[in-house]
Protein backbone atom coordinates (compact mmCIF):
# COMPACT_ATOMS: atom_id res chain seq x y z
CA UNK A 1 0.00 0.00 0.00
CA UNK A 2 2.77 2.44 0.96
CA UNK A 3 4.66 1.56 -2.22
CA UNK A 4 1.53 2.29 -4.24
CA UNK A 5 1.12 5.72 -2.66
CA UNK A 6 4.77 6.54 -3.28
CA UNK A 7 4.41 5.38 -6.88
CA UNK A 8 1.38 7.60 -7.41
CA UNK A 9 3.17 10.52 -5.75
CA UNK A 10 6.10 10.12 -8.13
CA UNK A 11 3.63 9.90 -11.01
CA UNK A 12 2.21 13.31 -10.03
CA UNK A 13 5.59 15.02 -10.37
CA UNK A 14 5.67 15.19 -14.18
CA UNK A 15 2.09 16.49 -14.13
CA UNK A 16 3.01 19.32 -11.78
CA UNK A 17 6.14 20.01 -13.81
CA UNK A 18 4.13 20.29 -17.02
CA UNK A 19 1.61 22.53 -15.26
CA UNK A 20 4.43 24.86 -14.20
CA UNK A 21 6.21 24.87 -17.55
CA UNK A 22 3.02 25.46 -19.52
CA UNK A 23 2.03 28.41 -17.39
CA UNK A 24 5.52 29.87 -17.55
CA UNK A 25 5.62 29.51 -21.34
CA UNK A 26 2.19 31.10 -21.59
CA UNK A 27 3.23 34.13 -19.60
CA UNK A 28 6.33 34.69 -21.70
CA UNK A 29 4.74 34.00 -25.06
CA UNK A 30 2.02 36.53 -24.38
CA UNK A 31 2.28 39.78 -26.30
CA UNK A 32 2.93 42.95 -24.30
CA UNK A 33 3.97 43.27 -20.71
CA UNK A 34 1.88 43.33 -17.56
CA UNK A 35 3.33 46.76 -16.97
CA UNK A 36 1.59 48.14 -20.06
CA UNK A 37 -1.15 49.72 -18.02
CA UNK A 38 -3.44 52.63 -18.66
CA UNK A 39 -0.99 55.16 -17.33
CA UNK A 40 2.26 55.83 -19.16
CA UNK A 41 5.35 55.54 -16.95
CA UNK A 42 8.84 56.97 -17.09
CA UNK A 43 11.68 54.65 -18.11
CA UNK A 44 13.09 54.82 -14.57
CA UNK A 45 9.85 53.72 -12.96
CA UNK A 46 9.54 50.96 -15.52
CA UNK A 47 13.10 49.77 -14.87
CA UNK A 48 12.43 49.79 -11.15
CA UNK A 49 9.29 47.78 -11.54
CA UNK A 50 11.01 45.36 -13.90
CA UNK A 51 13.71 44.86 -11.34
CA UNK A 52 11.13 44.36 -8.61
CA UNK A 53 9.36 41.63 -10.60
CA UNK A 54 12.70 40.24 -11.92
CA UNK A 55 11.66 40.85 -15.49
CA UNK A 56 15.10 42.07 -16.53
CA UNK A 57 16.81 38.72 -16.00
CA UNK A 58 17.50 36.15 -18.74
CA UNK A 59 14.60 33.81 -19.40
CA UNK A 60 16.25 30.69 -18.06
CA UNK A 61 17.07 32.44 -14.80
CA UNK A 62 13.49 33.67 -14.52
CA UNK A 63 12.33 30.10 -15.05
CA UNK A 64 14.62 28.85 -12.30
CA UNK A 65 13.44 31.56 -9.94
CA UNK A 66 9.86 30.74 -10.84
CA UNK A 67 10.29 27.03 -10.05
CA UNK A 68 12.16 27.80 -6.83
CA UNK A 69 9.51 30.24 -5.65
CA UNK A 70 6.75 27.74 -6.29
CA UNK A 71 8.75 25.02 -4.56
CA UNK A 72 8.58 27.34 -1.55
CA UNK A 73 4.88 27.91 -2.27
CA UNK A 74 5.58 31.58 -2.89
CA UNK A 75 3.36 32.97 -5.66
CA UNK A 76 4.72 36.51 -5.64
CA UNK A 77 3.06 39.89 -5.22
CA UNK A 78 -0.24 40.93 -6.72
CA UNK A 79 -0.18 43.62 -9.42
CA UNK A 80 -3.64 44.81 -8.58
CA UNK A 81 -3.55 44.89 -4.79
CA UNK A 82 -0.19 46.60 -4.34
CA UNK A 83 2.03 45.24 -1.61
CA UNK A 84 -0.24 42.28 -0.99
CA UNK A 85 1.23 38.86 -1.60
CA UNK A 86 -0.78 36.38 -3.67
CA UNK A 87 -0.28 33.97 -0.79
CA UNK A 88 -2.18 36.16 1.62
CA UNK A 89 -5.02 36.56 -0.90
CA UNK A 90 -5.18 32.78 -1.27
CA UNK A 91 -5.14 32.39 2.50
CA UNK A 92 -8.06 34.81 2.75
CA UNK A 93 -10.15 33.44 -0.09
CA UNK A 94 -9.54 29.71 -0.15
CA UNK A 95 -11.28 28.76 3.13
CA UNK A 96 -14.48 30.34 1.83
CA UNK A 97 -14.24 28.59 -1.54
CA UNK A 98 -13.38 25.33 0.15
CA UNK A 99 -16.44 25.50 2.41
CA UNK A 100 -18.66 26.24 -0.57
CA UNK A 101 -17.12 23.50 -2.73
CA UNK A 102 -17.11 20.84 -0.02
CA UNK A 103 -20.76 21.52 0.79
CA UNK A 104 -21.69 21.30 -2.90
CA UNK A 105 -19.78 18.03 -3.39
CA UNK A 106 -21.36 16.54 -0.26
CA UNK A 107 -24.82 17.57 -1.48
CA UNK A 108 -24.14 16.12 -4.93
CA UNK A 109 -23.26 12.76 -3.40
CA UNK A 110 -26.02 12.80 -0.78
CA UNK A 111 -28.69 13.40 -3.42
CA UNK A 112 -27.17 11.80 -6.51
CA UNK A 113 -26.33 8.39 -5.06
CA UNK A 114 -29.82 7.54 -3.70
CA UNK A 115 -31.52 9.04 -6.75
CA UNK A 116 -29.37 6.99 -9.13
CA UNK A 117 -30.01 3.82 -7.14
CA UNK A 118 -33.73 4.49 -7.17
CA UNK A 119 -33.73 5.00 -10.94
CA UNK A 120 -31.72 1.82 -11.52
CA UNK A 121 -33.94 -0.35 -9.34
CA UNK A 122 -37.04 0.96 -11.10
CA UNK A 123 -35.43 0.88 -14.53
CA UNK A 124 -37.80 2.02 -17.28
CA UNK A 125 -40.56 2.86 -14.82
CA UNK A 126 -41.95 6.18 -13.68
CA UNK A 127 -39.35 6.76 -10.96
CA UNK A 128 -36.57 6.11 -13.48
CA UNK A 129 -37.97 8.46 -16.10
CA UNK A 130 -38.56 11.10 -13.44
CA UNK A 131 -35.03 10.89 -12.04
CA UNK A 132 -33.48 10.82 -15.51
CA UNK A 133 -35.53 13.74 -16.77
CA UNK A 134 -34.60 15.72 -13.68
CA UNK A 135 -30.93 14.94 -14.08
CA UNK A 136 -30.93 15.87 -17.76
CA UNK A 137 -32.48 19.17 -16.73
CA UNK A 138 -29.74 19.53 -14.11
CA UNK A 139 -27.06 19.02 -16.72
CA UNK A 140 -28.70 21.50 -19.06
CA UNK A 141 -29.20 24.34 -16.60
CA UNK A 142 -25.80 25.90 -15.88
CA UNK A 143 -25.02 27.43 -12.50
CA UNK A 144 -24.94 30.96 -13.95
CA UNK A 145 -28.55 30.45 -15.07
CA UNK A 146 -29.79 28.66 -11.98
CA UNK A 147 -28.05 31.08 -9.58
CA UNK A 148 -29.55 34.35 -10.87
CA UNK A 149 -32.98 32.73 -11.32
CA UNK A 150 -32.91 31.57 -7.71
CA UNK A 151 -31.93 35.05 -6.60
CA UNK A 152 -34.85 36.44 -8.59
CA UNK A 153 -37.35 34.09 -6.97
CA UNK A 154 -36.03 33.74 -3.43
CA UNK A 155 -34.41 37.12 -2.80
CA UNK A 156 -35.98 39.68 -5.15
CA UNK A 157 -39.62 38.52 -5.34
CA UNK A 158 -39.69 36.87 -1.92
CA UNK A 159 -37.45 37.93 0.89
CA UNK A 160 -36.58 34.40 1.98
CA UNK A 161 -32.84 34.26 1.50
CA UNK A 162 -30.06 36.85 1.28
CA UNK A 163 -29.20 37.76 -2.33
CA UNK A 164 -25.49 37.80 -1.68
CA UNK A 165 -22.64 38.31 0.68
CA UNK A 166 -21.65 36.05 3.52
CA UNK A 167 -23.80 36.42 6.60
CA UNK A 168 -24.71 33.20 8.38
CA UNK A 169 -25.64 29.82 6.97
CA UNK A 170 -28.56 31.21 4.93
CA UNK A 171 -26.02 32.89 2.65
CA UNK A 172 -24.71 29.48 1.66
CA UNK A 173 -28.05 27.93 0.66
CA UNK A 174 -28.42 29.33 -2.84
CA UNK A 175 -24.71 29.27 -3.82
CA UNK A 176 -24.37 25.64 -2.73
CA UNK A 177 -27.54 24.63 -4.58
CA UNK A 178 -26.46 26.47 -7.74
CA UNK A 179 -23.04 24.88 -7.61
CA UNK A 180 -24.24 21.38 -6.77
CA UNK A 181 -27.17 21.04 -9.21
CA UNK A 182 -25.13 19.89 -12.19
CA UNK A 183 -23.13 17.45 -10.09
CA UNK A 184 -26.24 15.99 -8.50
CA UNK A 185 -27.29 15.26 -12.07
CA UNK A 186 -23.97 13.73 -13.09
CA UNK A 187 -23.75 11.55 -9.98
CA UNK A 188 -27.34 10.39 -10.51
CA UNK A 189 -26.66 9.32 -14.08
CA UNK A 190 -23.39 7.65 -13.19
CA UNK A 191 -24.90 5.83 -10.23
CA UNK A 192 -27.85 4.64 -12.29
CA UNK A 193 -25.66 3.28 -15.06
CA UNK A 194 -23.27 1.50 -12.73
CA UNK A 195 -26.04 0.05 -10.55
CA UNK A 196 -27.80 -1.33 -13.63
CA UNK A 197 -24.58 -2.90 -14.80
CA UNK A 198 -23.88 -4.49 -11.42
CA UNK A 199 -27.46 -5.71 -11.09
CA UNK A 200 -27.03 -7.56 -14.37
CA UNK A 201 -23.77 -9.21 -13.38
CA UNK A 202 -23.42 -12.91 -12.74
CA UNK A 203 -22.32 -12.50 -9.16
CA UNK A 204 -25.54 -10.76 -8.25
CA UNK A 205 -27.43 -13.70 -9.73
CA UNK A 206 -25.28 -15.93 -7.50
CA UNK A 207 -26.09 -13.81 -4.48
CA UNK A 208 -29.80 -14.15 -5.23
CA UNK A 209 -29.49 -17.88 -5.82
CA UNK A 210 -27.99 -18.13 -2.35
CA UNK A 211 -31.29 -16.99 -0.87
CA UNK A 212 -29.97 -13.82 0.74
CA UNK A 213 -32.40 -11.10 1.72
CA UNK A 214 -32.99 -8.33 -0.80
CA UNK A 215 -31.49 -5.90 1.71
CA UNK A 216 -28.28 -7.87 1.98
CA UNK A 217 -28.00 -8.42 -1.77
CA UNK A 218 -28.34 -4.70 -2.39
CA UNK A 219 -26.28 -3.21 0.40
CA UNK A 220 -23.51 -5.81 0.63
CA UNK A 221 -23.21 -7.05 -2.94
CA UNK A 222 -24.52 -4.34 -5.27
CA UNK A 223 -23.72 -1.07 -3.55
CA UNK A 224 -19.94 -1.28 -3.02
CA UNK A 225 -19.36 -2.28 -6.64
CA UNK A 226 -21.77 0.31 -7.97
CA UNK A 227 -20.10 3.09 -5.98
CA UNK A 228 -16.66 2.60 -7.54
CA UNK A 229 -17.33 4.68 -10.69
CA UNK A 230 -18.66 7.45 -8.46
CA UNK A 231 -15.40 7.38 -6.50
CA UNK A 232 -13.38 7.81 -9.68
CA UNK A 233 -15.67 10.66 -10.69
CA UNK A 234 -14.75 12.55 -7.50
CA UNK A 235 -11.54 13.89 -9.10
CA UNK A 236 -13.16 15.51 -12.14
CA UNK A 237 -16.12 16.56 -9.98
CA UNK A 238 -13.88 18.41 -7.54
CA UNK A 239 -12.11 20.17 -10.41
CA UNK A 240 -15.45 21.12 -11.94
CA UNK A 241 -16.84 22.38 -8.66
CA UNK A 242 -13.79 24.56 -8.02
CA UNK A 243 -14.20 25.97 -11.52
CA UNK A 244 -17.90 26.49 -10.99
CA UNK A 245 -17.29 28.29 -7.72
CA UNK A 246 -15.55 31.00 -9.77
CA UNK A 247 -18.84 32.00 -11.34
CA UNK A 248 -21.03 31.24 -8.33
CA UNK A 249 -18.92 33.47 -6.08
CA UNK A 250 -19.28 36.17 -8.71
CA UNK A 251 -23.07 35.84 -8.78
CA UNK A 252 -23.54 35.88 -5.04
CA UNK A 253 -20.75 38.29 -4.19
CA UNK A 254 -18.92 35.80 -2.00
CA UNK A 255 -15.38 36.86 -1.10
CA UNK A 256 -13.74 33.59 -2.11
CA UNK A 257 -10.76 32.70 -4.24
CA UNK A 258 -12.88 32.46 -7.40
CA UNK A 259 -13.92 36.08 -7.07
CA UNK A 260 -10.29 37.17 -6.73
CA UNK A 261 -9.57 35.13 -9.82
CA UNK A 262 -12.21 36.83 -11.95
CA UNK A 263 -11.35 40.37 -10.83
CA UNK A 264 -7.71 39.48 -11.39
CA UNK A 265 -8.51 38.19 -14.88
CA UNK A 266 -10.54 41.28 -15.79
CA UNK A 267 -7.78 43.59 -14.51
CA UNK A 268 -4.93 41.57 -16.03
CA UNK A 269 -3.40 40.92 -12.63
CA UNK A 270 -0.83 38.44 -13.98
CA UNK A 271 0.66 37.18 -10.74
CA UNK A 272 -2.68 36.72 -9.03
CA UNK A 273 -4.25 34.82 -11.95
CA UNK A 274 -1.14 32.72 -12.38
CA UNK A 275 -0.85 32.04 -8.67
CA UNK A 276 -4.46 30.90 -8.33
CA UNK A 277 -4.19 28.70 -11.45
CA UNK A 278 -1.09 27.03 -10.03
CA UNK A 279 -2.61 26.70 -6.58
CA UNK A 280 -5.79 25.11 -7.93
CA UNK A 281 -3.74 22.94 -10.28
CA UNK A 282 -1.74 21.57 -7.38
CA UNK A 283 -4.88 21.12 -5.26
CA UNK A 284 -6.59 19.18 -8.05
CA UNK A 285 -3.58 16.99 -8.74
CA UNK A 286 -3.35 16.27 -5.03
CA UNK A 287 -7.04 15.48 -4.79
CA UNK A 288 -6.84 13.13 -7.78
CA UNK A 289 -3.98 11.39 -6.04
CA UNK A 290 -6.08 10.97 -2.92
CA UNK A 291 -8.99 9.60 -4.95
CA UNK A 292 -6.66 7.10 -6.66
CA UNK A 293 -5.43 5.87 -3.30
CA UNK A 294 -8.98 5.53 -1.97
CA UNK A 295 -9.99 3.65 -5.12
CA UNK A 296 -7.07 1.28 -4.75
CA UNK A 297 -8.07 0.66 -1.18
CA UNK A 298 -11.72 0.00 -2.09
CA UNK A 299 -11.22 -2.24 -5.09
CA UNK A 300 -9.37 -5.43 -4.15
CA UNK A 301 -8.53 -6.11 -7.79
CA UNK A 302 -6.24 -3.08 -8.07
CA UNK A 303 -2.72 -4.36 -7.60
CA UNK A 304 -0.20 -2.08 -6.03
Amino acid sequence: MMAYIVKRLLGAIPTIFILLTLTFALVHLAPGSPLDGDRPMTPEVRANLEAKYHMNEPLIQQYRRYLLNIAHLDFGTSFQYKNTSVNSLIAAGFPVSLTLGAAALALALALGIPLGMLAAVHQNHTADYGAMGLSLAGISVPNFVLGPLMVLVFAVYNDWLPAGGLDGWQSYVMPVLALAAMYVAYVTRLMRASTIEVLRSNYIRTARAKGLSGFRVFFVHVLPAALLPVVSFLGPAAAGILTGSVVVEQIFGIPGLGRFFVTGALNRDYTLVLGITLFYGIIIIGFNLLVDVIYGWLDPRVTY
Binding site: L149, V273, I284
Partner: protein, 295 residues
Protein backbone atom coordinates in the same frame (compact mmCIF):
# COMPACT_ATOMS: atom_id res chain seq x y z
CA UNK B 1 -40.31 -19.62 -32.15
CA UNK B 2 -39.77 -15.92 -32.41
CA UNK B 3 -42.68 -13.79 -33.46
CA UNK B 4 -41.45 -10.31 -34.24
CA UNK B 5 -43.64 -7.41 -33.32
CA UNK B 6 -42.27 -4.97 -35.81
CA UNK B 7 -40.39 -4.96 -39.04
CA UNK B 8 -37.00 -5.83 -37.56
CA UNK B 9 -37.01 -9.29 -39.13
CA UNK B 10 -37.08 -7.85 -42.63
CA UNK B 11 -34.37 -5.41 -41.68
CA UNK B 12 -32.22 -8.18 -40.33
CA UNK B 13 -32.64 -10.05 -43.58
CA UNK B 14 -31.59 -7.03 -45.59
CA UNK B 15 -28.21 -6.99 -43.85
CA UNK B 16 -26.09 -4.03 -42.80
CA UNK B 17 -28.99 -3.04 -40.64
CA UNK B 18 -27.05 -1.40 -37.82
CA UNK B 19 -27.62 2.14 -39.02
CA UNK B 20 -31.19 1.38 -40.02
CA UNK B 21 -31.95 -0.32 -36.72
CA UNK B 22 -30.40 2.55 -34.80
CA UNK B 23 -32.46 5.06 -36.75
CA UNK B 24 -35.62 3.05 -36.08
CA UNK B 25 -34.85 2.96 -32.35
CA UNK B 26 -34.09 6.68 -32.36
CA UNK B 27 -37.39 7.40 -34.08
CA UNK B 28 -39.16 5.43 -31.39
CA UNK B 29 -37.56 7.67 -28.74
CA UNK B 30 -40.12 10.46 -28.56
CA UNK B 31 -38.07 12.74 -26.30
CA UNK B 32 -35.11 12.61 -28.67
CA UNK B 33 -37.25 13.22 -31.74
CA UNK B 34 -39.00 16.17 -30.07
CA UNK B 35 -35.57 17.56 -29.15
CA UNK B 36 -34.41 17.16 -32.72
CA UNK B 37 -37.39 19.12 -34.02
CA UNK B 38 -37.05 21.82 -31.36
CA UNK B 39 -33.34 22.18 -32.03
CA UNK B 40 -34.06 22.49 -35.74
CA UNK B 41 -36.52 25.29 -34.99
CA UNK B 42 -34.05 27.11 -32.75
CA UNK B 43 -31.33 26.84 -35.40
CA UNK B 44 -33.69 28.13 -38.08
CA UNK B 45 -34.79 31.04 -35.88
CA UNK B 46 -31.22 31.93 -35.04
CA UNK B 47 -30.15 31.87 -38.68
CA UNK B 48 -33.05 33.70 -40.35
CA UNK B 49 -34.72 35.47 -37.41
CA UNK B 50 -32.45 38.52 -37.23
CA UNK B 51 -33.13 39.34 -40.92
CA UNK B 52 -36.85 39.32 -40.40
CA UNK B 53 -36.81 41.84 -37.58
CA UNK B 54 -36.86 45.62 -38.19
CA UNK B 55 -34.33 46.02 -35.35
CA UNK B 56 -30.66 45.18 -35.15
CA UNK B 57 -28.53 43.99 -32.25
CA UNK B 58 -26.42 47.11 -31.71
CA UNK B 59 -28.70 50.16 -32.23
CA UNK B 60 -29.59 51.89 -29.01
CA UNK B 61 -32.91 53.58 -28.50
CA UNK B 62 -33.11 55.72 -25.39
CA UNK B 63 -36.84 56.26 -25.86
CA UNK B 64 -37.45 52.58 -25.36
CA UNK B 65 -35.30 51.37 -22.48
CA UNK B 66 -36.45 48.42 -20.42
CA UNK B 67 -39.55 47.89 -22.51
CA UNK B 68 -41.32 44.79 -21.29
CA UNK B 69 -41.94 42.09 -23.91
CA UNK B 70 -45.00 43.01 -25.92
CA UNK B 71 -46.48 42.31 -29.30
CA UNK B 72 -47.66 45.88 -29.85
CA UNK B 73 -44.27 47.60 -29.61
CA UNK B 74 -42.66 45.07 -31.91
CA UNK B 75 -40.17 44.19 -29.18
CA UNK B 76 -41.37 40.60 -28.65
CA UNK B 77 -38.74 39.96 -25.99
CA UNK B 78 -38.53 43.55 -24.69
CA UNK B 79 -35.48 45.81 -24.65
CA UNK B 80 -32.43 46.29 -22.44
CA UNK B 81 -30.99 49.23 -20.46
CA UNK B 82 -29.99 51.10 -23.61
CA UNK B 83 -33.08 50.19 -25.60
CA UNK B 84 -31.62 47.40 -27.74
CA UNK B 85 -34.15 44.81 -28.96
CA UNK B 86 -33.76 41.58 -26.99
CA UNK B 87 -35.38 39.43 -29.67
CA UNK B 88 -32.66 40.22 -32.19
CA UNK B 89 -29.95 40.16 -29.55
CA UNK B 90 -31.02 36.73 -28.33
CA UNK B 91 -31.06 35.30 -31.84
CA UNK B 92 -27.76 36.97 -32.68
CA UNK B 93 -26.27 35.68 -29.46
CA UNK B 94 -27.56 32.27 -30.44
CA UNK B 95 -25.66 32.48 -33.72
CA UNK B 96 -22.43 33.02 -31.82
CA UNK B 97 -23.20 30.35 -29.23
CA UNK B 98 -24.16 27.72 -31.81
CA UNK B 99 -21.30 28.65 -34.10
CA UNK B 100 -18.78 28.40 -31.28
CA UNK B 101 -20.32 25.07 -30.33
CA UNK B 102 -20.16 23.59 -33.81
CA UNK B 103 -16.83 25.03 -35.01
CA UNK B 104 -15.04 24.20 -31.78
CA UNK B 105 -16.47 20.71 -31.65
CA UNK B 106 -15.21 20.24 -35.20
CA UNK B 107 -11.72 21.32 -34.07
CA UNK B 108 -11.83 18.92 -31.15
CA UNK B 109 -13.21 16.18 -33.40
CA UNK B 110 -10.30 16.47 -35.83
CA UNK B 111 -7.69 16.51 -33.09
CA UNK B 112 -9.38 13.85 -30.98
CA UNK B 113 -10.07 11.32 -33.74
CA UNK B 114 -6.62 11.67 -35.29
CA UNK B 115 -4.88 11.43 -31.94
CA UNK B 116 -7.02 8.60 -30.60
CA UNK B 117 -7.00 6.49 -33.75
CA UNK B 118 -3.23 6.90 -34.17
CA UNK B 119 -2.59 5.98 -30.56
CA UNK B 120 -4.92 2.99 -30.66
CA UNK B 121 -3.74 1.74 -34.04
CA UNK B 122 -0.03 2.02 -33.32
CA UNK B 123 -0.36 0.51 -29.84
CA UNK B 124 2.61 -0.44 -27.70
CA UNK B 125 4.97 2.15 -26.31
CA UNK B 126 3.73 5.00 -28.52
CA UNK B 127 0.19 4.37 -27.30
CA UNK B 128 1.38 4.38 -23.69
CA UNK B 129 3.17 7.69 -24.09
CA UNK B 130 0.32 9.34 -26.00
CA UNK B 131 -2.23 8.29 -23.41
CA UNK B 132 0.00 9.36 -20.55
CA UNK B 133 0.03 12.83 -22.10
CA UNK B 134 -3.76 12.80 -22.24
CA UNK B 135 -3.88 11.73 -18.58
CA UNK B 136 -1.65 14.62 -17.60
CA UNK B 137 -3.70 17.14 -19.56
CA UNK B 138 -6.81 15.71 -17.93
CA UNK B 139 -5.58 16.45 -14.46
CA UNK B 140 -4.88 20.11 -15.25
CA UNK B 141 -7.53 22.66 -14.30
CA UNK B 142 -8.18 23.54 -17.92
CA UNK B 143 -10.90 26.11 -17.31
CA UNK B 144 -8.39 28.15 -15.35
CA UNK B 145 -5.95 27.64 -18.20
CA UNK B 146 -8.35 28.99 -20.77
CA UNK B 147 -8.99 32.02 -18.58
CA UNK B 148 -5.26 32.45 -18.16
CA UNK B 149 -4.90 32.29 -21.94
CA UNK B 150 -7.60 34.89 -22.41
CA UNK B 151 -5.98 37.17 -19.84
CA UNK B 152 -2.54 36.99 -21.40
CA UNK B 153 -3.44 36.95 -25.08
CA UNK B 154 -6.44 39.26 -25.05
CA UNK B 155 -10.05 38.47 -25.79
CA UNK B 156 -10.87 37.40 -29.29
CA UNK B 157 -13.21 34.88 -30.81
CA UNK B 158 -10.61 32.94 -32.78
CA UNK B 159 -8.51 32.38 -29.69
CA UNK B 160 -11.63 31.20 -27.92
CA UNK B 161 -12.26 28.56 -30.61
CA UNK B 162 -8.68 27.39 -30.41
CA UNK B 163 -8.52 27.36 -26.62
CA UNK B 164 -11.78 25.51 -26.04
CA UNK B 165 -11.08 23.15 -28.95
CA UNK B 166 -7.64 22.43 -27.54
CA UNK B 167 -9.03 21.26 -24.21
CA UNK B 168 -12.19 19.47 -25.29
CA UNK B 169 -10.58 16.86 -27.56
CA UNK B 170 -9.38 14.75 -24.64
CA UNK B 171 -12.59 12.76 -24.17
CA UNK B 172 -12.85 12.13 -27.89
CA UNK B 173 -9.26 10.93 -28.08
CA UNK B 174 -9.73 8.51 -25.20
CA UNK B 175 -12.94 7.06 -26.54
CA UNK B 176 -11.72 6.71 -30.12
CA UNK B 177 -8.51 5.11 -28.91
CA UNK B 178 -10.37 2.55 -26.79
CA UNK B 179 -12.71 1.69 -29.62
CA UNK B 180 -9.87 1.41 -32.14
CA UNK B 181 -8.03 -0.95 -29.81
CA UNK B 182 -11.02 -3.22 -29.42
CA UNK B 183 -11.91 -3.17 -33.13
CA UNK B 184 -8.32 -3.97 -34.01
CA UNK B 185 -8.54 -7.16 -32.00
CA UNK B 186 -11.80 -8.36 -33.55
CA UNK B 187 -11.55 -11.67 -35.41
CA UNK B 188 -13.12 -10.14 -38.50
CA UNK B 189 -10.17 -7.76 -38.85
CA UNK B 190 -7.86 -10.76 -38.72
CA UNK B 191 -10.08 -12.48 -41.28
CA UNK B 192 -9.98 -9.46 -43.58
CA UNK B 193 -6.22 -9.38 -43.30
CA UNK B 194 -5.98 -13.11 -44.08
CA UNK B 195 -8.21 -12.53 -47.09
CA UNK B 196 -5.62 -10.10 -48.38
CA UNK B 197 -7.08 -6.71 -47.45
CA UNK B 198 -4.45 -4.00 -46.99
CA UNK B 199 -4.20 -1.61 -44.05
CA UNK B 200 -5.93 1.33 -45.79
CA UNK B 201 -8.73 -0.99 -46.86
CA UNK B 202 -9.13 -2.31 -43.33
CA UNK B 203 -9.21 1.18 -41.87
CA UNK B 204 -11.71 2.42 -44.44
CA UNK B 205 -13.95 -0.67 -44.50
CA UNK B 206 -13.88 -1.82 -40.90
CA UNK B 207 -12.39 0.63 -38.43
CA UNK B 208 -13.89 3.94 -39.57
CA UNK B 209 -17.48 2.66 -39.98
CA UNK B 210 -17.29 1.14 -36.54
CA UNK B 211 -16.00 4.38 -35.05
CA UNK B 212 -18.64 6.47 -36.75
CA UNK B 213 -21.54 5.75 -34.41
CA UNK B 214 -19.48 6.50 -31.34
CA UNK B 215 -18.11 9.69 -32.84
CA UNK B 216 -21.60 10.90 -33.72
CA UNK B 217 -22.72 10.31 -30.14
CA UNK B 218 -19.75 12.19 -28.72
CA UNK B 219 -20.13 15.04 -31.14
CA UNK B 220 -23.71 15.58 -29.97
CA UNK B 221 -22.53 15.45 -26.37
CA UNK B 222 -19.50 17.72 -26.94
CA UNK B 223 -21.43 20.54 -28.63
CA UNK B 224 -23.49 21.39 -25.49
CA UNK B 225 -20.36 21.21 -23.36
CA UNK B 226 -18.60 23.68 -25.61
CA UNK B 227 -21.62 25.99 -25.71
CA UNK B 228 -21.68 25.86 -21.92
CA UNK B 229 -17.98 26.62 -21.82
CA UNK B 230 -18.30 29.66 -24.06
CA UNK B 231 -21.32 30.93 -22.13
CA UNK B 232 -19.37 30.53 -18.91
CA UNK B 233 -16.51 32.67 -20.23
CA UNK B 234 -18.87 35.23 -21.73
CA UNK B 235 -20.81 35.35 -18.48
CA UNK B 236 -17.61 36.30 -16.71
CA UNK B 237 -16.98 38.98 -19.33
CA UNK B 238 -14.03 37.08 -20.76
CA UNK B 239 -15.65 35.79 -23.94
CA UNK B 240 -17.45 37.62 -26.71
CA UNK B 241 -16.94 41.37 -26.48
CA UNK B 242 -19.69 44.01 -26.89
CA UNK B 243 -21.57 45.01 -28.92
CA UNK B 244 -21.43 41.43 -30.23
CA UNK B 245 -23.10 39.07 -27.83
CA UNK B 246 -23.76 35.45 -26.95
CA UNK B 247 -26.24 33.78 -24.62
CA UNK B 248 -23.71 33.78 -21.78
CA UNK B 249 -23.06 37.49 -22.19
CA UNK B 250 -26.81 38.24 -22.36
CA UNK B 251 -27.41 36.25 -19.18
CA UNK B 252 -24.67 38.27 -17.54
CA UNK B 253 -26.35 41.53 -18.57
CA UNK B 254 -29.68 40.14 -17.44
CA UNK B 255 -28.29 39.22 -14.01
CA UNK B 256 -27.31 42.78 -13.22
CA UNK B 257 -30.73 44.13 -14.25
CA UNK B 258 -32.99 41.35 -13.11
CA UNK B 259 -34.83 43.37 -10.48
CA UNK B 260 -35.97 45.99 -13.04
CA UNK B 261 -36.15 43.89 -16.20
CA UNK B 262 -36.36 40.17 -15.36
CA UNK B 263 -37.03 39.21 -19.01
CA UNK B 264 -33.44 40.15 -19.81
CA UNK B 265 -32.36 37.26 -17.60
CA UNK B 266 -35.18 34.83 -18.20
CA UNK B 267 -35.40 34.79 -22.00
CA UNK B 268 -31.73 34.12 -22.86
CA UNK B 269 -31.64 31.60 -19.98
CA UNK B 270 -34.51 29.68 -21.53
CA UNK B 271 -32.85 29.66 -24.93
CA UNK B 272 -29.55 28.41 -23.52
CA UNK B 273 -31.10 25.77 -21.27
CA UNK B 274 -33.48 24.46 -23.92
CA UNK B 275 -30.68 24.18 -26.47
CA UNK B 276 -28.43 22.31 -24.03
CA UNK B 277 -31.35 20.12 -23.01
CA UNK B 278 -32.08 19.21 -26.65
CA UNK B 279 -28.47 18.36 -27.42
CA UNK B 280 -28.20 16.21 -24.31
CA UNK B 281 -31.45 14.41 -25.05
CA UNK B 282 -30.41 13.72 -28.65
CA UNK B 283 -26.98 12.53 -27.52
CA UNK B 284 -28.51 10.19 -24.95
CA UNK B 285 -31.06 8.95 -27.47
CA UNK B 286 -28.35 8.28 -30.06
CA UNK B 287 -26.26 6.40 -27.55
CA UNK B 288 -29.18 4.21 -26.55
CA UNK B 289 -30.10 3.68 -30.20
CA UNK B 290 -26.60 2.57 -31.15
CA UNK B 291 -26.04 0.50 -28.03
CA UNK B 292 -29.45 -0.76 -26.96
CA UNK B 293 -28.24 -2.99 -24.14
CA UNK B 294 -28.41 -0.11 -21.66
CA UNK B 295 -32.12 0.42 -22.09
Amino acid sequence: MISRKRDSLENAARGNSLGRDAWRRLKANRAAMASLVLLGLITLAVVVGPWLSPFNYYSQDYDAIWTAPSWASGHFFGTDAVGRDLFVRTLNGGRISLMVGIVTTFVSLIIGVTYGATSGYLGGRTDNLMMRIVDILYSLPFMFFVILLVVFFGRNLLLLFAAIGAVSWLDMARIVRGQTLSIKQQPYIEAARMAGAGTPGIIARHIVPNLLGLVVVYVTLTIPQVILFESFLSYLGLGVQPPATSWGALINDGTSEMSVAPWLLIIPSIFLAVTLFCFNFIGDGLRDALDPKDR
